[in-house]
Structure formats: C-alpha cells, structure tokens
C-alpha cells in the first residue's frame, strides 16, 4: 500500500530515507576532501608545512602563503600574479568574440537554413571532437610565422577558433527554441537577415549569452595544453602554466601550492557558485542534447 504513495509526501522517518541521506552525506564528505586540503593547506605557515601533514588544521588565519604564491619574495622565482593578469587579458576578448560569432552562426543555422546548411553545421561541429594535439604542431608553426607565438593575442585567437563549434552549437539549439513565427512575422514586415537578428533575436539572446559566456570563460581560463605549448615567456603565460611552474619552484611547500591553486581557481569558482544554474545548462548543451 505504501507503493502507491507519492514519494515526497511520506510521513515519519523511514530506514531507506536514513540510508539515502547517509550515503549523500558520506559522498559529500569524500568530494570535499580536496577542497579541505586546498583551503587548509593554503593557510599554513612555512613552519607548519615542515611539521604537520596536509590534514591538520592551521594554527591561525595566515595569508602568508597567498602572498608568496602571488609574488614570491625571491626575484625570478615565479608567482602567479602576472599569470592572473595574462589570463584575464586573454580570456575576456576570446569569450566575447567567440560568443558573438557563435551567436551569428547559430542564428543562421537555425533560422535561415538552406540546402546543405546541416552538412555545414556537422562539418563545423567536428572541430569540437578532435584531440587538439592533432592541430597543435601546424598551429605553433602558423603563429610563429605570423609573429603571434608567445603572445596573448595568438592565444586568444586560438581559443576563439576552437571555441567556435561549441558556441555555435549552443546558440543553434537555443535559437531553435525561439518560435519561428516571431521570425516569420518580422520577415513579413520586410525585415532581412540582419534586421531580424537585431530586432527579434538579439533581445531574446541574453540567457544564451550567459550560458555560452560562462562555458567559454570556464574552459578558456582552465585550459592548459594550448597555454603551455603556445607560450614560453612568463610575460605571456596564462595562470594555469604559472601555477604549474609554481609547483616546480615551491616543490616541497604545499602551502604555497595550495594557495596558488585556490587563487587561480577563484574566478571560475565564484562564477560557478553564483551562476551554477547556467553552468549546468551549458554542460548539458555541450553534450549535443540542448
């Protein structure tokens, strides 16, 4: 008889409920272990690093490791401060350009389809599913020939080019949910491709831009393969590479490494915590089923 009740309305505490919450809490604790290690480790002093394991709590709220990770006291020993600035300078234009460009592509591929446009879409989409190693060597060569190797501009261009398939995909699926009647009505009024985009599509695109923007920001900020192969000087290295170098120059000091990791993760973490709903939408859209 309990089998026909709606699950949310059950009364009293049932053993299966206890089990479900118990399991969820246990999984949560395990998933939070690395977060605990990150936060606790970053608050330790040099003395504590030498005398305690990564599991013990720090004796106080000490931000010395944060300062060292950003700008080490020793000259030329790295630090991620410049990497943070580089990442920001490179990521923001790449996100904006790849989003706008993807929006235009997605608009045409969903609202102005022509014979062969689906094939074109598939051709574009394939670029999302290649291992980037397959294009890395000619990319390095081209950027060198254009004197864009080891520059933030070269890196930003790279991220625009290889971000294009996913931004096009998400916008195409997003625009497919906008009723075609709206577009048809504007066409009857004599509006062309550009006018329909400006008057009808763009004003409705804000949620699409939020999803795509968050997705691109997270991906480009976190990217490492392009970052490590297309740059060589610290002055043009993004934060992921700076963090990796920090682990090299502070090999035994987990406090500095954890502080560096935490600082470099803060921008995407903050975006995730504030806008997780849109982040999840982008995540699911990236798997093709918008």
């Amino acid at each position: 008889m309990s089998s026909v009740r709606v699950p949310g309305r059950r009364r009293g505490i049932r053993p299966s409920r206890v089990l479900i919450y118990g399991l969820l809490i246990a999984f949560s604790i395990v998933y939070l272990v690395p977060v605990y290690v990150l936060v606790v480790g970053s608050l330790k002093t040099l003395r504590e690093v030498n005398t305690t394991s990564i599991w013990t709590l720090p004796t106080g709220f000490n931000l010395g490791a944060w300062a060292d990770a950003l700008q080490p006291p020793l000259q030329n020993s790295g630090g991620i401060a410049s990497g943070l600035v580089n990442s920001l300078e490179m990521t923001i234009p790449a996100v904006v350009i790849s989003s706008v460009w993807g929006s235009i592509n997605g608009y045409i591929l969903s609202k102005w389809r022509f014979r062969g446009s689906d094939t074109l879409f598939a051709t574009l989409l394939f670029g999302m599913f290649i291992p980037y190693q397959a294009i890395l060597i000619p990319l390095v060569n081209l950027l060198q020939q254009l004197h864009l190797y080891d520059s933030l501009v070269g890196l930003a261009i790279t991220h625009v080019m290889y971000g294009l398939p996913i931004t096009t995909l998400i916008f195409r699926n997003y625009y497919a949910s906008i009723p075609t009647e709206l577009v048809e009505a504007a066409k009857v009024d004599g509006a062309g491709i550009v006018a329909v985009y400006r008057r009808v599509i763009l004003p409705l695109s804000v949620p699409g831009f939020v999803v795509v923007g968050i997705w691109q920001f997270t991906n480009i900020w976190n990217e490492f393969l392009f970052a490590v192969t297309l740059t060589s000087a610290p002055s043009s290295q993004p934060v992921t590479v700076a963090l990796q170098n920090l682990a090299g120059s502070f090999a035994a000091l987990y406090n500095v490494q954890m502080a560096g990791a935490l600082i470099s993760a803060l921008p995407t973490l903050v975006v995730y915590i504030l806008l997780s709903r849109y982040f999840i939408r982008g995540l699911l859209a990236g798997s093709l089923k918008g």
Binding site: S53, A122, L124, L125, A247, M258, L283
Partner: protein, 321 residues
C-alpha cells in the same frame, strides 16, 4: 535568393576558420607525419620542406616500447577505469538525488563543483593527497584503515587480482601511491573521476527528470519495488544518455594531458605515461616534430572512430525528430 546568399556569406568566416584551423591543420599534421622533420631546424615556410619518408615515423613508433605497448595500454586501461567508475558513481549519485530529497540543489552543486576547476588545480591537489609521505596514508593509518588495506593485500586468494592491478599500474592500495609504479595510474584515475563524475550525475539526473512520472506510477501500481523500477525500467530508458556519456568521457580520456602532466608527469618511470605526454616530449622538448605529428594522427584516428559514428547518429536523429 538574396537571403540565401547573405546567409552563406555570414557563415563564410566560420567555414573558412574551420577549413583552415581544423581540416587544413589536420592535413598538415598528416603530411608532417610522413616527412623526416625530426630536427631542431625551424620551418621557414608554411609547410615542412623535408624529404618524404613514408610511414617510417609510424613504424619507428611501433617499435618504441614507451609508445607501444606501454602508452597505448596505459591509455586504454585509464579509459576503461575512468569511464566505468565515473559512469557507476554518476548513476548512483543521480539516483540518490532523484529521491525527492531536501537540499537537492545543494548536493547537486557540490558534486558538480570540481567541474569548474582546471585539471591543473585538480592535479596539484591530488598530487599532494596521493603523496606517500604527506597524503592519504597519514589520514588513513591513524584511523586504523591502513590495517584494513594491509589485510586486503594479504588475502591469499586475491593475490592474482593484486598482481594484475599492479602490472596495470592501478592498484591504489599500494602505499607508495604516485611514487609507486604499481599505483601511479590508479591515482590519476581517482583524480579524473573526482573531477568528471559530477558531469555524469548531471546528465543522468536530467535524463531521469525527462521520464514522465506516469511511467513510475504505472510500475508502482503493478507492485514493482523502487529498486526494480530503476533496474528494469528507468536505467534501460537512460541508454541514449549512457552512450553520450561514454563517448564524451572516452573522448576526454583519449586526449588527456594536463592532469597527468601535473600529477605524475608520466612517472615513476613511464608507469603513468600517455601518448599525449610522449607527443609533448617528442615534439616540444625533443624537436622530433614528425614523430609528434605521427602520434597526433594516431590519437586523432582513435578518437574519430569513437566520435564520428556518434556525431552522425546524433545529427540524423535530430533531423528525424
């Protein structure tokens, strides 16, 4: 007519970008892989002007033990472990969250949180957790869990299993962890699962929410238990999502680079080495560009075998619906 040509023109930049940066570059890599460009000399043209050597770079790769069989087997073992564990864990989490629980969004966001981090951050943290001198051993041993681990390793009839896991570098019960070739690859698997299982959960949860309530209600009326409903009805309905997840995780694990690079850099020895690390060392550290291109082509072909049929079926299904 005018609208059609304008829409083609507006798409042209994207088509050109794709033709150059994706297809052109793949052809370029394929071409470089059959040249003798294995020296420091930089290119002065857009194409490598070196003598053609046929498939020499591929055959020499196949006679390099680090690539064949070590790296290829490592990547296969990693893919199987990573995909299987992520799939099972993601499904369990999705089913738990599907029980109309309090704080559902809190738990969901928590399990997805690692997805917002870079593999470099994940690798940095997990390298310390799996550091034999400071990490997980120091947590488990005082709790008495070290004894359980030692007990498991000491069970006689399990020793064939342990030696198989040892030889595949995934026996994470070994206390040497990232410093032990018997466990190093397993440590990377754990970190990758931590990062990606939330994604699997989100996919399955979205799938479960897409199944109409009457399906469950009908099964309940027929007297099926909750477990039976999942096993017999809901999980089979999730099949298309399961295929998506397998393809996407498989694609990620075939090209994985940053996590391994940061956590173990392929070591100790070459116990957790991957083709992507070998490519990096060959081309970017050793100037063996043609050999690097050959590795890249192998990686591309393997992931195309996985991805292309999937893409075709997805796009065809979309056209039909």
């Amino acid at each position: 007519m005018r609208a059609r040509s304008l829409s083609v023109i507006l798409l042209l930049p994207a088509i050109a970008a794709s033709l150059i940066f994706v297809y052109g570059f793949i052809a370029w890599t394929g071409f470089a892989s059959i040249t003798g460009w294995n020296q420091i000399k930089p290119l002065h043209n857009f194409l490598p002007d070196f003598p053609l050597v046929g498939l020499d770079n591929y055959t020499s790769l196949m006679s390099t033990p680090r690539f064949w069989t070590n790296d290829v087997v490592n990547n296969a073992v990693f893919t199987v472990c990573f995909v299987t564990v992520s799939l099972v864990l993601g499904l369990v989490l999705a089913i738990l969250l599907d029980q109309h629980i309090l704080g559902e969004s809190f738990f969901r966001n928590l399990f997805l949180l690692p997805m917002s981090l870079s593999f470099v951050v994940t690798g940095t943290v997990w390298a310390w957790i799996f550091n034999p001198n400071t990490g997980i051993n120091q947590l488990l041993d005082p709790l008495g869990l070290g004894a359980i681990r030692d007990g498991l390793l000491g069970i006689g009839f399990l020793s064939p299993l342990w030696s198989v896991l040892d030889s595949l570098h995934v026996n994470i019960l070994r206390t040497g962890l990232t410093a032990d070739p018997r466990a190093s690859l397993g440590a990377v698997v754990v970190a990758a699962v931590w990062q990606m299982s939330g994604f699997v959960m989100a996919m399955f949860l979205a799938g479960l929410r897409g199944i109409p309530d009457d399906v469950r209600e009908a099964a309940r009326v027929d007297g099926a238990s909750e477990l039976q409903i999942y096993r017999r009805i809901l999980i089979p309905l999730l099949r298309p999502i399961m295929i998506s997840v397998i393809v996407l995780l498989g694609y990620i694990s075939l090209k994985i680079f940053d996590l391994v690079f940061v956590m173990t850099r392929g070591g100790p020895g070459i116990s957790s080495d991957f083709p992507s690390i070998l490519l990096f060392d060959s081309a970017f550290k050793g100037n063996l560009w043609a050999r690097g291109a050959a590795i890249a082509m192998v990686m591309l072909i393997v992931s195309a075998i996985l991805v292309v049929p999937y893409l075709r079926s997805q796009l065809r299904g979309e056209r039909q619906s």
